[in-house]
Amino acid sequence: MLLGLSRFAGHRGASVGVVVFAVLLIVALAAPLLARQDPLAVNPDARLLAPSGQHLFGTDQLGRDQFSRVVYGTRVTLMVGIVPVLIAAAAGMALGLTSGYFRGAADALIMRCIDVMMAFPGLLLALAVIAVLGPDLRNLMISVGIFSIPLYTRVLRGSTLSTRENLHVDAARAIGCGHLRIIIWHILPNVIAPLIVLSTLGMANAILVAASLSFLGLGQRPPAPEWGSMLSSARNFLRLAWWMTAFPGLAISISVLAINLIGDGLRDVLDPRLRT
């Protein structure tokens, strides 16, 4: 454990990632303290101002302070990174473990369903879910969660299949352990490592997908501060106000990059076999 921790700390990329992520967390939690101005306050006299001492990131077309909006947007972003991952991990665990452990008909059925879900290219699945449920933040998180389920299921099924062959599982079965006991005490601890790596990288992906959907107008409606929808408004003012595009965009990229670096670090520590 300690060896793992020291290896992680030695991994330069991951350390940077952790620092950046910690900053994001602090920003999200301390938003009211950091953002002096109301992110929703419209100010017609202060439209499209360049970054300055008073407005660190400038203002948008309605005079709203961009810095406050980016700061408050951190909260939405983190939520939208975590909740879908929880959904996908929970469903993926249930489906993957069942599929990998029991095999047979359950496996075939589940994998066929997963194949169907993976048959929808890119954002289309998420889009379809929002089409059915309607565009708002809650449905955004549900849809990104559903969109991520196939990957989690496949990875967990793979880990379960290989763990199943281990000697200690046979031994447990030989002494009469019930299936549930075996799954919880023998299979689960061995599949946690890939799950953690996947969840971290999945969080980065969830943020990207959610930002994309918001950009397209399928997430939280304006005027709520959210980086994706901010970029959508920024589009029309590209010529006039580059700061409207730059800061939210950089915020997204930096967040995703940081989480990816953490995920890479975790992967190197927990399962070097997964390295590319």
């Binding site: 169907v116 289309l124 994309s212 589009r235 595009t245 990059l257």
Partner: protein, 308 residues
């Protein structure tokens, strides 16, 4: 070989069926009454709603409706758009060429750029070339496509004025969208080719070729590259699929007509038949493309054919 093809076809069939089921269920899961939504104003009148339901066969049990849905789809009838009243398939076919053009262009760009970058990075292993390339690749994957798109528009359109930002008429209008669409894929390919090349370059037959006295670039290009490209081919199907999904964003940002933009507008306008038809169509195409890639993979790598 024939056995392999049959095997892939058989595996694809339940997926195709599942896709039709998913598309069918989509409309059933919409909260509220889609018929009322379709009728709009007249939706308030129960008699009109009942009559439309009868006409559309919505009174029949679900399995019957499903079968009719599939049969109609096989005949090319994907329903009618609520907004435009035109058949869904017609609307898709009108816009399909533009999207295909974009996707193919992006695929070409991503392959060329990605493979070259990967090869260069592998050759320049342990030098600044490798590190730079990898940093760019990682950054390329982390940045959201729409942000990259806006950046490119800002630099090449607004500041430099070299390329148009929107529209679809000319070849120059194709460049920015295709590059943006192809970049994440190129980054992925670069990483893949790099690690694949590095692995291949370590193998014995490369040492043999060098020992024979062959020039370095012959060794690399002729011998190493062919083998390193195998994993690239496997991801082509997935890349193309990701691009099909990515066209939704790209077409919106660059205001290009295409099926990506069509499905987005349909979702925003709650034009359910159009959404359903497009989801079905796109998913089908994606499954068939993956099937084709799987089969071609059998041709390229004999180990797959013979159950290796």
């Amino acid at each position: 070989m024939g056995q392999y093809i049959c095997g892939r076809l058989l595996a694809a069939f339940p997926v195709l069926l599942g896709v039709t089921l998913a598309a069918f269920l989509m409309l059933q899961l919409v909260p509220g009454d889609p018929v009322a939504a379709m009728l709009g104003q007249q939706g308030a009148d129960p008699a009109a709603v009942a009559q439309t339901r009868q006409q559309l066969g919505l009174e029949r049990p679900l399995p019957v409706q499903y079968v009719r849905f599939v049969l109609r789809a096989l005949h090319g009838d994907l329903g009618r758009s609520i907004l435009s009243h035109r058949p869904v398939l017609d609307q898709i076919m009108d816009l399909l060429p533009s999207t295909v053009q974009l996707a193919l262009c992006a695929l070409a760009i991503s392959t060329v750029v990605g493979v070259s970058a990967g090869v260069v990075a592998a050759i320049g292993h342990r030098t600044w070339i490798d590190s730079t390339a990898m940093v760019l690749a990682v950054a390329g994957v982390a940045s959201p496509t729409f942000f990259v798109a806006l950046l490119l528009i800002f630099v090449f359109s607004v500041q430099l004025g070299w390329l148009p930002a929107t529209g679809a008429g000319s070849a120059s209008a194709l460049i920015l969208p295709a590059v943006t669409l192809g970049l994440p894929s190129a980054a992925l390919l670069a990483r893949l080719v790099r690690s694949s090349m590095l692995e291949v370059l370590r193998l014995d037959f490369i040492r043999a070729a060098r020992a024979k006295g062959l020039r370095n670039h012959t060794v690399i290009l002729r011998h190493a590259l062919k083998n390193a490209l195998i994993p690239v081919v496997t991801t082509v199907g997935a890349q193309f699929g990701a691009m099909l999904g990515g066209t939704i964003i790209i077409e919106t940002v660059f205001a290009r007509p295409g099926i990506g933009q069509l499905v987005l507008q349909a979702v925003l306008n709650k034009d359910f038949p159009l959404v359903q038809g497009e989801v079905l169509f796109t998913a089908m195409v994606y499954v068939l493309i993956n099937l084709a890639v799987d089969i071609s993979y059998g041709f390229l790598d004999p180990r797959i054919r013979f159950g290796g």
